[in-house]
């Protein structure tokens, strides 16, 4: 297992009226992309601000490579790049002057990576940063966060405002960063853009982590679901007698949904050759389904408890 870069130890930041984050406890491992999903106001930004040391938790602490996120906030910035959720630039005349100013803050002499990113994102930085479109602001902020080649990247909803093409480009850039061994925390309220990218995804709701999903397990589940429809009733009835795990049956359409273990693929498809199928379809498993299941289970548990 990789070393832990950020360890969030039971932090609570209570803003009252159920707002804030409560007893968050998770970690970011070196080299992983960690997704942070939740609706607006669920506590994603509050968490990231605590990692940045901008706000102090009421309880608990965050450990970043042996440093305290709040007390050693200046030290940690040496290896953290940050894209804030709401982007507003300093009062400077052009995007270039902003990038140069940030480089000065970072004591960064070599702007070659910044220039490379500018090319990749196809952005014209001669514009006044305060008058940029949301997408341009987003790109400029991302360039500023990445240009220092920081080991840890904290990206608070970095893809909002980007068109689909740009979003793809951006995710590719993050893939490259990951390949370089960066640890990345990315928050979003869209499951799809995160599940392709992340190693693990945490779902946060009302300031509490619901679950942390390991994407590998979702992408390559031990059992896969298939939906099969038969051309005739006989086959349908016959199939039901096979030694195969059936999840659901739809009598009137001659449909079954089955769950097949990895090792049983061969024997399963062999068995299928005996039947006259109308179609067979894999019911893809994804993050949304995963969390929905988790959610339903939680709610059931909750009801049972009541």
């Amino acid at each position: 297992m990789n070393a832990v870069d950020i360890k969030i130890n039971h932090i609570t930041k209570d803003y009252g009226q159920n707002r804030g984050v409560f007893d968050l406890n998770f970690e970011l491992r070196r080299g992983e992309i960690f997704g942070f999903v939740g609706t607006n106001g669920s506590g994603k930004t509050t968490t990231i601000r605590q990692i940045m040391g901008f706000i102090k938790p009421n309880n608990g602490h965050i450990d970043i490579r042996g440093l305290d996120a709040y007390k050693d906030a200046t030290e940690t910035k040496k290896f953290i790049g940050y894209v804030p959720g709401e982007i507003s630039f300093p009062d400077l005349p052009t995007g270039i002057s902003f990038i140069k100013s940030q480089a000065e803050f970072l004591k960064l002499k070599d702007l070659s990576y910044a220039n490379e990113l500018i090319k990749i994102f196809q952005i014209d930085l001669r514009a006044n940063p305060r008058k940029m479109s949301k997408g341009m602001k987003q790109k400029t902020a991302v360039i500023a966060a990445l240009m220092n080649d920081a080991d840890i990247l904290l990206l608070d909803e970095p893809t909002t405002g980007l068109d689909p093409l740009m979003r793809k480009l951006f995710l590719e850039v993050l893939e490259k960063e990951k390949a370089k061994g960066k640890t990345i925390l990315i928050s979003s309220n869209i499951f799809e853009e995160i599940e392709a990218l992340c190693d693990r995804v945490a779902l946060i709701k009302d300031g509490k982590i619901i679950d942390i999903a390991v994407m590998e397990e979702i992408r390559n589940p031990i059992k896969r679901e298939y939906k099969i429809e038969f051309n005739n009733k006989d086959d349908f009835e016959k199939f039901k007698l096979e030694n195969i795990e059936i999840v659901r049956i739809k009598e009137e359409q001659n449909q079954v949904i089955v769950k097949i273990n990895k090792e049983e693929y061969n024997s399963f498809f062999k068995t299928l050759t005996k039947y006259n199928l109308k179609f067979i379809n894999e019911n893809k498993y994804n993050l949304e389904k995963y969390f929905k299941e988790k959610f339903n289970r939680l709610e059931r548990d909750g009801e049972n408890h009541d």
Binding site: R49, M52, F54, I55, K56, A73, T74, E75, K77, K78, I80, G81, Y82, P84, E86, I87, S88, F89, P90, D91, L92, P93, S97, F98, S101, Q102, E104, F105, L106, A141, A144, A145
Partner: protein, 516 residues
């Protein structure tokens, strides 16, 4: 301890505002000094002073005239019965004497009709009246015998005789001047009485009035405390020199006295009390003031328009307005504005300490104010140099002190705005508290001016002085800088305010949660 890129950002972001404020304030001051140096600003003061002094002088004339009138009137009132009696007695005696004399002389061919007449009349006179009667009869008949006068001449002689009797009747110690006054008044009384056989109140008032009217100007020469003080204040040897300097002559002075008395008579005849009537007539611009009139005049004489306009109105008000506006907007944009918008996230996501941010911004703010006042100061020097031979009366040294004082004041205000900016995460609260307080201080100073000792007492509204206690700008005592006195403690307190507010601001910003 400071962040160079942040300093650069602050300069780029606020430089234009700084430049505009600096230029506008410098130009305003330059023009002000230039104008003051050329319009002979003290002419304004002098003409103001003139009108005050004239008003005061005229009030004093009227007051003196009324006092004189009252004394003369009282004298007439007291003299009248005595004169009336004496006159009646003398007239009766002289009529009888002349009649008897003529009879003795013409019908009886008396060898000595004078003595005869006297004897006859004395025989019919009570013993106690005999000495006076003898004197009157002797005088009248001697005159009658020697001069053979007409009736008119005889009447005049009798009048004179009556006056002599009145004067001789007065106490030994009555001074010569009073005797002269009584003599003059008695003449008038007798003149009217002899014609009308009575003397009305109106007659008495007229006599008194005319007497004062004719003698007032000459009597001003008599030394008294009030005039001596005035002469001392204005540096004249005699009251007449002073009167001449302010354009008065005998006719105008007597005219003023006369109008005062006429007013007084009409008030009194309409039933007004003496005190009220007098104060009503002698109201001057100074008369409502409790302090000594001479003191007020001294103060007005000392008033310096350059000190008032440059020292107070410019350096404490007009010239502070733009720098304070600059401080309010800049202090906010240096911290709270960047927290509110979120742009400070980019600075704090680099290895830049919060304290480094606040100290850098503090240095920018204070540094920009120092530069601003260096430029304003240089402009004030140049402007003064251009008008120096003329009438501008503030020295370079005092200008330097004024600039330093104003700078310290603005820095103290900047500390308050900085504290608000470091304390609040929202611009609206930062500007509301920091800007609100600063503006309150400035407006209080403007209101307080009307009650401050900078304004001559004659124009001052004392109650407004309250506002001077509600503003820290009072601690910058520009008047003391210009006219002498200790001003240093106020400036030290302002520096203390600046130090404390900046320190609290820096500490607060270190500790608070930032929504970035």
């Amino acid at each position: 301890m400071i962040s160079v890129p942040l300093l650069k950002q602050s300069i780029k972001a606020n430089g234009v505002a700084w430049l505009l404020v600096t230029l506008a304030t410098s130009i305003m001051l330059g023009i002000l000094i230039f104008v003051l140096g050329n319009i002979q600003s003290n002419e304004i003061r002098d003409s103001l002073k003139d009108s005050f002094i004239k008003s005061e002088l005229e009030a004093q004339f009227k007051s003196g005239a009324i006092d004189g009138f009252v004394i003369v009137y009282d004298t007439i009132y007291q003299l009248y019965p005595e004169i009336k009696n004496t006159y009646d007695q003398v007239t009766n005696l002289s009529n009888v004497a002349v009649l008897t004399y003529d009879q003795l002389k013409n019908q009886f061919n008396h060898p000595n009709p004078k003595e005869g007449a006297i004897q006859i009349i004395l025989n019919n006179t009570p013993d106690e009246d005999k000495p006076l009667a003898t004197f009157i009869l002797t005088s009248v008949l001697t005159y009658y015998e020697t001069n053979n006068p007409t009736q008119n001449e005889l009447t005049q002689f009798i009048s004179k005789l009556v006056i002599d009797l009145i004067i001789n009747n007065m106490e030994e110690e009555v001074p010569e001047e009073t005797r002269a006054v009584v003599k003059s008044i008695s003449q008038q009384i007798i003149e009217i009485y002899s014609k009308n056989n009575e003397l009305t109140i109106e007659n008495m008032q007229t006599i008194a009035r005319l007497y004062i009217e004719n003698s007032f100007y000459d009597q001003l020469g008599t030394p008294n405390e009030q005039t001596d003080k005035m002469l001392e204040v204005f540096g004249y040897d005699t009251i007449y020199e002073l009167l001449e300097a302010f354009g008065y002559n005998k006719t105008t002075v007597n005219g003023i006295a006369s109008s005062g008395i006429i007013q007084y008579i009409s008030y009194i005849n309409n039933g007004m009390e003496h005190d009220l009537a007098k104060s009503e007539i002698t109201k001057s611009l100074f008369s409502q003031m409790p302090e000594d009139v001479a003191e007020s005049l001294t103060e007005l004489g000392d008033m310096n328009i350059d000190h008032l306009v440059v020292g107070t109105i410019f350096y404490k008000m007009a010239g502070l307005l733009l720098p304070i506006v600059y401080v309010i907007t800049t202090a906010n944009s240096l911290i709270a504005g960047q927290v509110d918008s979120g742009s400070l996230a980019f600075v704090l996501s680099t290895p830049t300490k919060r304290r480094k941010v606040t100290i850098t911004q503090m240095i920018y703010l204070i540094g920009s104010l120092i530069c601003m006042y260096i430029i304003i100061g240089v402009v004030s020097f140049i402007a003064t140099m251009l008008v120096k031979d003329k009438t501008f009366s503030i020295t370079y040294q005092d200008l330097l002190k004024l600039n330093v004082g104003a700078l310290i004041t603005v820095i103290a205000i900047s500390g308050i705005c900085f504290l608000a900016s470091a304390w609040f995460n929202r611009s609206k609260y930062s500007v509301g508290v920091g800007g609100g307080l600063s503006m309150f201080f400035l407006v209080s100073t403007i209101l307080g001016l009307f009650g401050s000792s900078t304004i001559p007492e004659a124009l001052r509204i004392k109650a407004m002085n309250f506002f001077n206690y509600t503003t820290i700008i009072t601690l910058f005592d520009s008047e003391k800088i210009l006219s002498g006195g200790t001003y240093i403690y106020g400036l030290l307190i302002l520096l203390g305010i600046a130090i404390i507010t900046y320190i609290i601001g820096i500490i607060r910003f270190d500790k608070k949660d930032l929504p970035l």
